[in-house]
């Protein structure tokens, strides 16, 4: 992360990922054939495969994969807790998260996909609807480069608002540390999944948040609330990790229930690898959805 410019960073990350195609979850009428289906009365006769009919004397309908461009909206957490890290403690979570979003945006733009951005803390700060334009990437990178000035995170409140802002179905990439109470999380995420969005969650954590590897007693200050706590890390570590694990387990359960692939990354991981992992997940996910859709149609 030595490269200061976000666009350069993103470009460096994306290089080498130019190949690969992701498909829209919507089946439409495009040039790419996917499968046959037996004709049933009411189907449009235009899609009958006449050649097969002539050969086998049976009516089949040809189905095609819709190859419309992907609409992807990045939702990036700009709250104060994302500012943890930096200096001797490694990369800031916010830098990591923003670079990740910028890299992916760059990559998608290269594929002519529409890309949008929403930043939030307690509320939605910025919303750029997904669009494919010449200057869209520039705008998004510019916004991502602004320093977050948010307060506490209220993920759920922000998601509720975004659900009303994001219109057409598409991909939603949620970048946050998810370090907030999970009481309402499932309901809020379901607003997107129910609307047919393909939601992906990227949980960015600092390695110290994972293992609480502090040594000396200190006054620990909550970056969001400003609350102080005098702590001996050695004494508090065990309890911290128990709670941390329980929180993550609960978060995973929510993701799994909503069919959301969740990526838990630490700022110590190389971003290229994370990006690769993320992109590898995508086609597989698309195939699953395609199969589900086919099964419904066959029934």
């Amino acid at each position: 992360m030595e490269i200061r410019s976000l666009s350069l960073r993103a470009r460096a990350v994306v290089e080498g990922f130019m190949s690969g195609l992701h498909r829209s979850p919507r089946t439409g009428f495009s040039t790419e054939f996917t499968e046959y289906r037996q004709y049933s009365p009411g189907d449009d006769v235009r899609f009958l495969d006449w050649k097969v009919m002539a050969r086998t004397d049976r009516e089949f309908i040809k189905k095609f994969e819709d190859e419309t461009n992907l609409r992807c909206t990045f939702m990036v957490d700009f709250s104060k807790s994302m500012e943890f890290g930096g200096d001797d403690a490694g990369v800031k979570k916010s830098d990591y998260g923003r670079t990740f979003a910028a890299s992916l945006a760059w990559f998608l733009t290269q594929q002519r996909d529409a890309v949008g951005l929403a930043t939030f803390d307690r509320d939605v700060r910025e919303f750029i609807p997904p669009r494919y334009r010449q200057d869209q990437l520039k705008t998004i990178l510019g916004r991502l480069e602004t320093q977050p000035a948010g307060n506490a995170t209220d993920l759920c409140q922000a998601l509720e608002k975004l659900a009303s802002l994001v219109g057409k179905r598409g991909m939603i990439v949620l970048v946050s540390d998810f370090l907030s109470p999970l009481d309402e999380m499932e309901r809020c995420l379901s607003l997107f999944t129910a609307a047919g969005h393909d939601v992906r969650a990227v949980q960015v954590l600092h390695p110290r948040e994972v293992d609480f590897s502090f040594e000396d007693a200190a006054i620990f200050e909550d970056m969001e609330s400003g609350q102080n706590l005098i702590l001996d890390p050695g004494m508090a570590r065990e309890s911290y990790q128990q709670k941390y694990n329980a929180h993550n387990a609960a978060l995973d359960a929510i993701f799994s229930a909503q069919g959301i692939p969740g990526f838990r990354v630490t700022t110590a991981e190389p971003l290229e690898r994370v990006l690769q992992r993320f992109l590898e997940e995508r086609p597989a996910r698309a195939v699953v959805r395609q199969r589900r859709s086919n099964a419904r149609n066959a029934a």
Binding site: L179, D222, M223, M235, A236
Partner: protein, 688 residues
């Protein structure tokens, strides 16, 4: 425990300094920002092992030494009662004068009074003398403890106090009570084997209302060495209105006067609109508004329409204190006064005596004068009468009966108009040879040497009425051979012979006039002296007939008087109201509560009313200067038991303990030195 110089105790705060410093050092100084504290719990502040106290015993010893040092400088002491000093204590005699008059019924005054009494009891020490005296019109000793024995005596006094459940209905005669107690305390000396009293004090617990009678103290030389302390309760008096009957001074002289009542409103009264109510025997309630501004009083006549309705109780409404708002009322009945004229006059003969006699008496709503004339020659029995007027010679059977009647208590007025009456006169006076001689004079006679001290002529004693020079006597007679004793000459003619005489044969009275009042004899009948003279002669009878049936609580009522002294068969007094028991009395009855009472004797019954003393309605507090003017040696009215108890403090011993504390401190310092020396030999450094 107390301290002579308690400020030095602040030095003990120095102990906290090393502990505070220790705690401050233990607090981490570095700050660590962290994403979220949601997974962190408050843990015990981390302890720096290097700074952990190792020699706790040393720390404790040093702290204790410091603490004791501060303690020593503060000079602690304990006060203890010295039993020997208590025995040497001066004795005091405290008398509590507790007001139990009717005005103490207001609000919670009685509870306050009892509480003040308890406070007074709290001042007593062993061996003191204590008297508890309740007063109203009279004084009653409730408790007397010659040598106070602490709680045992207190229980005894409290039991007596509890028996006096509530105040009475009497008036308040504080002066009499003070004089009574003052004399008793002065006269009582301590026993030879007892310690003399160093202090004698009377504590008056009262509302000290203006209606209290203080006259007895006025002019009384207050004994020296007896202090009076006034504990006033009910200073926050909110005003009061009272009702009393207004009596005419000469009830028989006022004709047709309806009973009138004075309604007074105290100066600190709240409102000026009062309601005047009358309750009749039929259960009817009549009312009318009366406007009485605060500080004023108003006389209200019983309205005519009420008077005819047999009112038994009057009341006022509209003030704060209820205790004096009822007035029981026994209406006077019209009494017959029988006057028998013995003579030959015609009733309408303006030249005769009877005509003027009958005209002299006027009917009133209380008195019904019945003048009857009989002939001196009559052989009928002598009728009963309150006054016999003899204008002519009386024949013997009648004269004899008359003589006996006079001797048994009747009043007779004999007008000597003819020498023929000499026999009668001699017979009634018990004298032989009485001769009546007409004085032949061409000139009129005047009266002189009037004995104005005599009850008959007392009415003329005032210089305005004692001029008899306008009264001319044309004819008069001289009585000869009268007995030397038993006859008072009330007036003489200027020529010397007696004009009016008074004799007392037996229990009765016989008045003799040697000149009549007819125009032929004198100007008396037409003068202003005639009617007063006749009423004056009748006064004992009229007083008895018009005696009031209104009394106040505590009055000693001669109930036999209602039945003309007929108490032989015993008299029963029945109070009105439910649950009241009849009382048998001989002659006198002292009513304990207000109300209507019925006295019943053999063949007669009379109702009389008993009310609160009117002075009790004056509930405003007396100004304190008045007591000082009376020469009472006053203790401060707000004297508290603490002041009285101050000498006790002096008897306590003060025991100081600072030397012991100093010794303990030195011991701790020595111990600390020994322990520290041991510690320094060891390798581990001592950190405290």
């Amino acid at each position: 425990m107390s301290f002579l110089t308690p400020l030095y105790l602040l030095g003990a705060l120095g102990l906290a300094i090393p502990i505070i410093l220790h705690l401050l050092h233990d607090r981490p100084k570095n700050k660590q920002a962290f994403g979220s504290l949601m997974f962190l719990d408050k843990t015990k502040p981390p302890v720096d092992r290097k700074r952990r106290p190792t020699h706790l015993l040393l720390l404790l010893l040093r702290c204790l030494a410091l603490l004791l040092l501060a303690f020593v400088f503060a000079r602690p002491f304990v006060t203890v009662d010295d039993p020997a000093a208590a025995a040497r204590r001066d004795r005091q005699w405290i008398t509590v004068l507790l007001d139990r008059s009717a005005s103490m019924q207001r609000g919670d005054l009685w509870a306050q009074a009892k509480a003040k009494t308890q406070t007074a009891i709290g001042q007593l020490g062993p061996g003191d003398r204590f008297s508890l005296i309740a007063y109203d019109n009279s004084t009653d000793s409730l408790a007397e403890v010659k040598s106070w024995l602490g709680s045992a005596s207190e229980t005894e006094v409290n039991a007596q106090l509890e028996r006096l459940a509530k105040p009475g209905f009497g008036g308040s005669n504080l002066g009499q009570a003070l004089v009574f107690v003052g004399e008793a305390m002065q006269e009582t000396e301590s026993e030879p084997d007892e310690q003399p009293f160093a202090r004698r004090e009377i504590i008056v617990i009262s509302d000290l209302q203006k209606g209290s009678h203080l006259g007895d103290v006025q002019g009384y030389e207050w004994p020296t060495g007896i202090w009076v302390s006034l504990k006033q309760i009910g200073e926050d008096d909110q005003g009061n209105a009272g009702i009393e009957q207004v009596f005419s001074r000469v009830p028989w002289a006022t004709a047709e006067a309806a009973p009138s009542f004075r309604i007074s409103n105290s100066a600190n009264g709240i409102g000026d609109e009062l309601e005047f109510l009358a309750h009749t025997t039929a259960g009817e309630t009549l009312s009318q508004k009366v406007h009485v501004p605060p500080g004023r009083s108003r006389v209200v006549e019983l309205p005519g329409e009420w008077a005819g309705k047999s009112v038994e109780r009057l009341a006022i409404r509209g003030d704060t204190a209820e205790f004096d708002n009822q007035f029981h009322f026994a209406q006077n009945r019209q009494q017959a006064v029988r006057i028998v004229y013995i003579g030959e006059d015609k009733p309408n003969d303006a030249e005769g005596s009877l005509f003027y006699l009958a005209s002299a008496f006027q009917q009133s709503n209380t008195l019904d004068f019945q003048v009857e004339a009989i002939s001196g020659k009559s052989t009928d029995a002598l009728p009963e009468a309150d006054l016999f007027v003899i204008g002519d010679a009386v024949d013997n059977p009648l004269a004899q009966a008359l003589g006996q009647t006079i001797e048994s208590g009747a009043t007779a007025l004999m007008v000597v108009q003819s020498p023929g009456q000499a026999a009668n006169l001699g017979q009634w006076l018990g004298a032989d040879g009485v001769v009546i001689r007409d004085i032949a004079s061409s000139d009129y006679a005047l009266l002189q040497s009037l004995k104005l001290d005599d009850p008959v002529l007392a009415v003329f004693r005032d210089a305005r009425f004692s001029d008899f020079t306008n009264l001319h006597f044309w004819k008069h007679r001289e009585l000869q051979n009268l007995p030397d004793e038993g006859i008072d000459v009330l007036a003489r003619f200027d020529s010397g012979p007696p004009a009016w005489l008074a004799a007392r044969p037996g229990d009765g009275r016989l008045l003799v006039m040697t000149s009549g009042w007819t125009p032929a004899d004198s100007q008396l009948a037409l003068s202003t002296k005639f009617i007063p003279l006749l009423y004056s002669i009748l006064q004992p009878v009229l007083e008895q007939k018009t005696q009031s049936r209104q009394f106040i609580v505590g009055n000693r009522i001669d109930v036999a008087r209602f039945g003309n002294g007929q108490a032989a068969a015993g008299i029963t007094v029945i109070p009105s109201g439910d649950g009241m028991e009849a009382v048998s009395v001989d002659t006198f009855f002292t009513p304990p509560t207000p109300g209507l009472y019925t006295a019943k004797g053999a063949g007669w019954s009379e109702t009389f009313a008993v009310n609160l003393p009117a002075a009790e309605s004056r509930t405003e507090p007396i100004v304190m200067e008045q007591f000082q003017k009376l020469g009472l040696p006053m203790s401060a009215p707000t004297a508290t038991p603490a002041v009285a108890g101050a000498p006790k403090k002096a008897e306590a011993l003060r025991r100081e303990y600072w030397q012991w504390a100093l010794a303990a401190m030195l011991l701790f310092v020595t111990l600390e030195t020994v322990l520290a020396a041991k510690g320094s030999r060891a390798t581990e450094p001592v950190m405290t």
